[in-house]
Amino acid sequence: MVDADYALEARGIIKVFGNHVALDNVDFGLRAGEIHALLGENGAGKSTLIKILTGAYQPTTGQVLADGVPVAVDNPQQAQKHGIGTVYQEVNLLPNRSVAENLFLGHQPTRFGLVDRRKMERDSRDILERYGLDIDPASELGAHSVAVQQIVAIARAVELSGKVLILDEPTASLDRNEVERLFEIMRDLRAKGLAIVFITHFLDQVFAVADRVTILRNGKRIETRALDDVTRTDVVRLMLGKDVAFSGATGVQDARPLGEVLLDFRNYGRKRSVHPFTLSIHKGEVVGVAGLLGSGRTEMARIMFGADAADEGEVHFEGKPVSIARPTDAISKGFGFCPEDRKAEGIFGDLSVRENIIIALQGKLGWFSALNRDEQMEIAGKFGEAMDIRAASLDMPIKLLSGGNQQKVILSRWLATDPAFLILDEPTRGIDVGAHAEIVRTINRLRDEGLALVVISSELDEVVAYSSRIVVMRDREMVAELSGKDINPGVIVQAIANHKEGTAS
């Protein structure tokens, strides 16, 4: 793949963290004057690749080439020198400083050793004008909307680098008009010969603005294609790794009698988070939630558990209307929630396995009925055995356990509270195959014991294997509810990819 046209190229990149291969022989070529979308689910290696291109990480093996010449990119400043500028999802600028200073920080024009503020502001005005912004360069950046800050960040990156622009989920917090404005700027920059990498979870946006797409999955490059040659369904299929085979249903459950309705969400939703959805969940069933990252599946889980309060609709629990505005409301009714980001939101890394198991139960019991150590040991021991948690001791810090064992601890934490309803967000992400199978077995067992479960997963095979119904999310909206024969990967992929005509943004 020798191509002198590439403004920036990564060749044979392998990146290993410990014994985890984050990138496996990935090639990535970026031409001047193109917008190149980079797609992949969480953990596919997108951000690792970007960090290597911008110098935040060093590849284990492989090369980065700028204009066909191998370059060493050791840090973000050096990337800047090679013409590579990056704009991150969270605008990485300084809201406490003026717009002009944000554009020029580190490169301010000086006179007699002092910053020449007048020149800086004059130059800023020229730059901002080119991006269609009519704002006072002396005004504080934080006083402007996120969209304006985003454009200022792009302007800074382009002014300082000028060859390659990497946009890491720039549209995540923008509304439709702002996205359109951003796209205009991107097209404009493309016409000026800039090479742009565009990372997003929104397929519509990829098809609206990008020329080519590279899809990563599990650290491997799956495809690089011109977007004219692919359909939406192809892209989703490549991302999720389904070489579908629109075969018949693979893992359909026997039509078993459903238990009584446990929970009934009616037009339940939260502004800027999830569109109102209506869903009843029965005892003894697993409702699978499928959708791409950013489709609103995690947000749905969070409002079900009260981690975010719903602002629309109502929920009935065992037939009675209830309010679930806080996690404590949910826990008191017997809900449990295993969040997606296990490290940040699930475990207490420095606490022991035992403490991690009993903490939700203790929370439910309240302040005044502390579990003594023996009771704690008994409970932890029971679940440690039942869930086959492999730890040298229940008193070792949970952060030393493998991902799979950590997940089992979190499951045990909720099972100890004797729950009626469990929400599992990506319970099998980042854990090894053996633990994976055990978690799936546990899900099946809990269902048979009469629990109601909602399980979010990107692994379609897995969702298909244990769900009795599947809810498909797209663009923060519940777009389909599949059951019976429709529970198969082919139908799900189509439901995810299905694109309502006329709503392209």
Partner: protein
């Protein structure tokens, strides 16, 4: 008005009102004599507070300031009175020692990722302990250079005197303001206080800036120590205990946000003057215990923290609704 200016304006207004009220009660307070003494009496505090302003703007804190003032006083006194150094060489040595001291604290804060609070607390004990190891007693300084410096006075109409050390403080404030607001180093300090992650992604030399900030603070504290020794003509290991807290108060009352990123060096000047005003008022009154100073400072500090909360919470950055607050 920009958000960061509001606390400064509030401080200035409070100072003017407080001063007017004081003058109404004691007309004698409105004189060049009182104003001149304001500068002289608070010179060491003001100089240390400039350094503290930089530290707080960068999102840090420096608890070693008072101890460095004490240590410098003792070091200078011992070098001059016992070792026979010329005061100027003694000053140079003291400033150099402080620069190294501050630099090491900065390195520890940046590379070991230890909170500044802890590192400078250790620095405080080290400097205070070091001073006491050198001597337990007050070491008097009698050198013709000291008498000469004390004689450098600009007489103002009305009997006021502008002393050398008072003018030194004013000069430090002017240079400090230029560095903070008009140099790249200054913009890096604000950047660090705003968001250290963004700052490093934007290419701010974070290590160099952090070390520079603590070095500057220690050097200014040493300068304050020198000024204090000129003021008292002695070095005493327990001098200036708690001055770091007065300096922090002056900085916060002067409108600098304690979490960093917002503030003005000039504001600290008004903060120092406001503290001086309270002290002078209590001296004029004569019946009040001097501990009332502390109570007034406490009340002012509390008011300002509440004020800043209100101002910054009312227009949190990134909120589209608060486009114009």
């Amino acid at each position: 008005m920009s958000r960061s200016l509001r606390p400064l304006v509030a401080t200035a207004i409070i100072f003017i009102i407080a001063y007017s009220l004081a003058v109404m009660q004691f007309p004698g307070m409105f004189s060049t004599r009182v104003l001149g003494n304001f500068l002289t009496d608070n010179a060491f505090l003001g100089i240390a507070a400039v350094g503290m302003t930089f530290v707080i703007l960068s999102g840090g804190i420096d608890l070693s300031v008072g101890a460095v003032i004490g240590f410098t006083g003792v070091l200078v006194a011992v070098l001059i009175s016992w070792a026979g150094f010329h005061p100027l060489s003694a000053f140079a040595i003291a400033l150099l020692v402080a620069a190294i001291f501050g630099g090491v604290m900065g390195l520890a804060i940046h590379y070991m990722q230890v909170p500044a609070f802890i590192v400078t607390l250790a620095g405080m004990f080290l400097a205070r302990g070091g001073a006491s190891v050198i001597t337990q007693d007050s070491v008097p300084i009698s050198h013709e250079f000291y008498s000469w410096i004390s004689s450098l006075i600009i007489r103002l109409p009305g009997g006021g005197r502008l002393s050398f050390i008072g003018l030194t403080m004013v000069a430090v404030f002017i240079v400090g303001a230029l560095v903070a607001h008009r140099t790249k180093f200054g913009s890096y300090v604000y950047a660090l206080g705003g968001n250290p992650v963004s700052a490093s992604l934007m290419g701010v030399p974070v290590a160099r800036t952090t070390v520079g900030v603590y070095m500057l603070s220690s050097v200014l504290a040493a300068l304050a120590g020198i000024v204090f020794s000129l003021y008292t003509s002695a070095g005493y290991p327990l001098a200036a205990v708690g001055v770091e807290l007065d300096a922090i108060s002056a900085v916060v009352i002067g409108g600098t946000l304690l979490t960093g990123g917002y503030g003005f060096v000039l504001g600290t000047f008004i903060g120092v003057m406001l503290l001086g005003l309270v002290q002078t008022y209590i001296i004029f009154d004569g019946t009040l215990s001097s501990w009332w100073t502390k109570i007034v400072i406490g009340v002012l500090l509390f008011l300002f923290i509440v004020l800043q909360r209100l101002i910054f919470a009312a227009s949190a950055p990134g909120e589209k609704a608060a486009e114009k607050g």
